[in-house]
């Protein structure tokens, strides 16, 4: 009986790690590999079925042959590459130094409590990225400033909508509409040499780069189902961005 309790605890920990990885934006293969590494350290074998919203895992103890299966739902996705990086590193260290269950649990707790960049840091960095985009497409400095301001406002709206827990695609639509509306003012009042470039770049901070790239790695890995799910989710975001831009163009042109 004792050993089954331990197996339950191990399964819970591994499930939490896998879910954290998926939610942070790792591809399916990475989640599987990390889980297998940790399971190896804990003297078990793990078999899991990973989908977009649910994770099913069966853990088999190598010595007793006991198994334990659990299904868990995933929270909403929030991309966090620091978490992915730390868990990956921890899995290597665990394998090299044969960590105990408690050590892994402790390390995972530490990783989870790490702070993200502050809101203002993110706002400033992404606004600068918006200005950079404008330059890449050939905009002049005034247009870059317009792109920067509209990105800032758009991202601010996105974060506020996130706090209010609106539907994900609605959030993107709203942010896209607001950002392109602000940039459209530049077109209306003819600010800078290339106001249309500022308009085109004001919404690029919403581009679903991580779901789309992960979708292709999943597809190439033959995780076809997850790949398709990610692609659809990315496509929905792209459509939401286009709809927002569409609305702003209709009003301002």
């Amino acid at each position: 009986m004792e050993s089954l309790e331990i197996l339950k605890k191990k399964t819970n920990l591994l499930l939490d790690i896998a879910i954290t990885l998926m939610v942070s934006g790792a591809n399916t293969n990475r989640a599987n590999t990390s889980i297998n590494r940790f399971a190896l350290v804990l003297g078990c074998r793990a078999f899991s079925m990973i989908s977009h919203k649910t994770l099913v895992m069966t853990l088999t103890d190598n010595h007793t042959g006991e198994t334990y299966t659990k299904v868990q739902n995933m929270p909403s996705y929030a991309i966090n590459f620091t978490t992915i990086s730390c868990i990956s590193k921890a899995s290597w260290k665990a394998l090299e130094n044969s960590w105990s269950f408690e050590q892994i649990e402790e390390e995972f707790k530490n990783i989870r409590s790490r702070k993200r960049y502050s809101r203002i840091q993110v706002l400033l960095a992404v606004s600068l990225a918006g200005a950079g985009f404008c330059n890449i497409f050939g905009g002049d400095y005034i247009s870059m400033a317009v792109a920067m301001v509209s990105t800032f406002v758009g991202l601010f709206v996105l974060q506020e909508a996130h706090k209010k827990d609106y539907n994900m695609y609605f959030r993107v639509l709203l942010a896209s509409f607001i950002a392109s509306s602000v940039a459209s003012l530049g077109v209306v009042y003819d600010i800078g040499d290339s106001p249309d470039l500022a308009l085109a770049t004001s919404i690029l901070f919403l581009v679903p780069g991580v779901p789309l790239i992960n979708s292709f790695t999943d597809l190439l890995d033959n995780n076809l189902l997850n790949g398709q799910v990610r692609f659809t989710s990315g496509l929905m975001i792209v459509m939401a961005i286009a709809m927002g831009l569409f609305g702003a163009l209709l009003i301002f042109q």
Binding site: N80, I84, A129, A131, G132, A200, G209
Partner: protein
């Protein structure tokens, strides 16, 4: 010479854009410089190729492929999984302007233009911009993930060797 500085400036802004997205994705502090560097290199390669009149799809693919291959040794060097900096680094190459032109043409076609000759031009715009956008997106994703898939073989090999010990 001014051409060269122009390309250099654009490449630097590519690095800045990559870094901005990196911060949005919460990359580790250690990876900040690497992300900037990879974004810079990708921009440099893409714009030099564009300057030499290469097709934009090919140029984007070359940039993404370079990021994918460079991210492998860099990943080993600073002990991070390669995805952490390869994804932010290719984001500046996303074909935003083509996407915008496609949406604009679709809108004009549906809501505004009634003259049939102009509508024909708009269909041309929709298809040329839309497909350019689509193929750039595909070449970016394949360019960046292909080297990572090649690398994976070796990591799995290391792991199974460990298993046998």
């Amino acid at each position: 010479m001014t051409e060269f500085f122009k390309i250099l400036e654009v490449a630097i802004w590519s690095g800045v854009a990559a870094l901005g997205f990196g911060i949005l994705f919460n990359i580790p502090k250690k990876a900040i410089f690497t992300v900037f560097f990879l974004g810079f290199i990708a921009g440099l390669i893409k714009f030099i190729l564009l300057h030499l009149n290469t097709n934009i799809i090919v140029a984007s693919f070359a940039g993404a492929l370079t990021v994918g291959f460079l991210s492998m040794p860099l990943a080993h060097k600073i002990h991070q999984p390669p995805v952490v900096f390869s994804i932010p680094a290719v984001i500046p190459m996303i074909p935003g302007y083509f996407a915008y032109k496609t949406v604009l043409a679709v809108m004009n076609f549906t809501f505004i233009e009634t003259e049939s000759a102009k509508r024909g031009e708009l269909i041309n715009d929709i298809f040329s911009n839309g497909f350019t956008m689509f193929f750039i997106l595909i070449s970016l994703t394949i360019g960046v993930s292909f080297p990572l898939l090649l690398l994976r073989k070796t990591t799995v090999k290391n792991m199974s060797r460990k298993l046998e010990d």
